[in-house]
Symmetry: C2
Subunit: 363 residues, 2 copies
């Protein structure tokens, strides 16, 4: 019997993935040239579907990389001459900050403890920061920053470039791309695909910055997947190097399926399933929601502390028990490995499947 993956990435494959893959194999998409019209049509289709789904305006390009982690590096190289600013409240926002240090950027940090979230009112952006790096959904701790707060912050600092890591939440967050300059995600989370493709959305303002930095004698914007090179090829729906053609095809098809359902419905279903999970955690004697502030609770990666002083248990027991019912749940991240579980709430799992998981956890 097949397992259902409630893990926060790699995750359950989207149900239509298999039929799209079969179609791609029938059409020999794995063998076609990335300089052919067939590929340009595939890129254009994925671009159109993602644009509709995420409401991306014509000011922004959509590019493909090897992974979302690669985009951390690309956006820092291409959009920061000296200083970046990072909101850090977990392991992945921390890595974004670490990347900036590795690239010898002057990286400013504002921190909150693991499990706590940011609101616009908390935040002071340093005067010379060029890029504000936000994480919509901190996969490690299950904390979200609401888009409204991001937009508020950008309005306060309109001249700075804003970049949003939405790796483990896209297409859920309703970002206003008239305010957000760049965002990125990977396909093995809410899009229900295997890992191996990153998606980078970037505005003309980001491009202008990269083109300015590219002229520097001392600083480099990198050599591979630089924004000017990506954009140059993007004009004809090509890529600088051979991309993951098959996954771009599959992403376009799954984005089309999402558009058929409608992004509003997908968001409502996500919230409905999240409500079910948090309601269960709030009322359970054996679990409690790790994130205390409701407004900071992630809708796509739900983190629960397992056990209670009266009934101690470990995540290992919970995970093993769920596995016997063919449900795969994620462990806590890092030092919370044993004391927490993480449940992905992506479109690939239905209300019924979430219901079954809750029943299982109740046992």
């Amino acid at each position: 019997m097949q397992n259902t993956y409630f893990t926060p990435g790699p995750a359950e494959l989207y149900p239509t993935f298999y039929q799209h893959l079969q179609q791609a194999l029938d059409e020999q998409i794995g063998s076609i040239s990335h300089r052919s019209q067939r590929f340009r049509d595939i890129y254009k289709f994925a671009d159109e579907q993602l644009r509709t789904l995420l409401n991306i305006p014509a000011t922004h390009g959509i590019f493909f990389t090897g992974s979302a982690s690669e985009v951390w590096e690309r956006v820092l190289l291409n959009c920061v001459e000296h200083e970046s600013f990072h909101l850090v409240n977990g392991s992945f926002s921390q890595k974004f900050y670490d990347y900036a240090n590795s690239l010898h950027k002057h990286a400013h940090i504002q921190e909150k403890p693991f499990g706590e979230g940011f609101d616009a009112a908390d935040i002071e952006v340093p005067a010379y920061a060029e890029l504000v790096c936000l994480t919509h959904n901190e996969t490690s701790s299950g904390v979200q920053m609401r888009p409204g707060e991001m937009h508020k912050l950008k309005r306060k600092y309109p001249k700075k470039l804003f970049c949003v890591d939405m790796v483990s939440s896209a297409p859920y967050p309703d970002l206003d791309f008239s305010l957000i300059d760049s965002a990125f995600f990977s396909v093995q989370k809410a899009f229900g695909m295997p890992a191996g493709l990153g998606v980078w959305i970037a505005s003309q303002a980001c491009l202008a910055k990269a083109e300015q930095l590219e002229k520097s004698d001392t600083l480099t914007i990198g050599a591979h997947n630089t924004l000017p090179m990506l954009w140059k090829h993007y004009k004809t729906f090509e890529t600088p190097a051979t991309p993951n053609v098959l996954y771009i095809y599959l992403l376009g098809k799954i984005a089309e399926d999402f558009n058929r359902i409608g992004i509003d419905t997908i968001r409502k279903q996500t919230e409905e399933k999240a409500r079910m999970l948090y309601k269960f955690l709030d009322s359970s004697a054996d679990f409690s929601p790790f994130v205390k502030q409701e407004r900071h609770r992630s809708q796509t990666v739900i983190v629960a502390t397992v056990g209670s002083p009266e009934r101690p248990t470990s995540s290992t027991d919970v995970i093993s028990s769920a596995k016997t019912a063919n449900m795969i749940v994620g462990s806590g991240y890092g030092k919370f490995k044993d004391s927490q579980i993480r449940i992905a709430n992506f479109p690939a799992v239905s209300v019924e499947q979430v219901g079954s998981l809750i029943e299982q956890l109740q046992k």
Copy 2:
């Protein structure tokens, strides 16, 4: 009817690809965690199979990136403080050199015209070059540099790091990794997989260099997929970020198939098919081999000039005509697009299929 792809990448999928993919789907490899024992087993298996196939010693690690083009950047960032040296005789060796310039390395170049190749005796490596960048198979022009010449050159310059681009030829070239410090390839060429995974082989000497450079206050070795980070995770067969788990699984399985056949047999079959193609080109009134020196003629990407003064034709006609027989042949590269065709000779196409292609071209 399905086409047979004789294109130099993306190319024909290896015949066993489909059954391995089905097995991977049955085992839900697209959903498993990259921090699980299952993934570590997959990485270890691919490592063992590639190690056997390419005769890679324990001094070298095997790492996965988004593409081979990414490795151009990584090896330059991690192994060059100031100066690199590049043999350039086509579009891809040129790109390797361009990457070095984009990264503000002092990049030395020795050039030969498109269609000509290098021997050790031709080459003088500049005194302060730290990394010697060689291209085993120039995909654009169908020129190879024989491994024996590379080894001879390394013996002349034993203290320099040697890196070999074998993107469109691995596993064909029999590199001696006691001499070659680093090599890389992508999976959509001779391994017969869809594009989306790069493979980087690097020695402890490369690692030592990267660790030394990492301490610099002025220079950066990058942030994503740095060699020290890749190697640290490699010790337990993990990766710094989520890799293309599915393709690593498939690569291990195809490498295992290659090992079952035996690398000697694969090399002999490659040479046999290349001999058939060059023999045809040499004797044809309508085609001629583009590369004049036999020792520089690629065994894996055969480039032919189409037409003759008496019987002029264009590559478009040849390609269209082959397509009617469900055979897809590549066009010439860049300015040779109309006057040349390129025929990939990878393990995915059999002696019989090459025979059929020759019959078709004879028409």
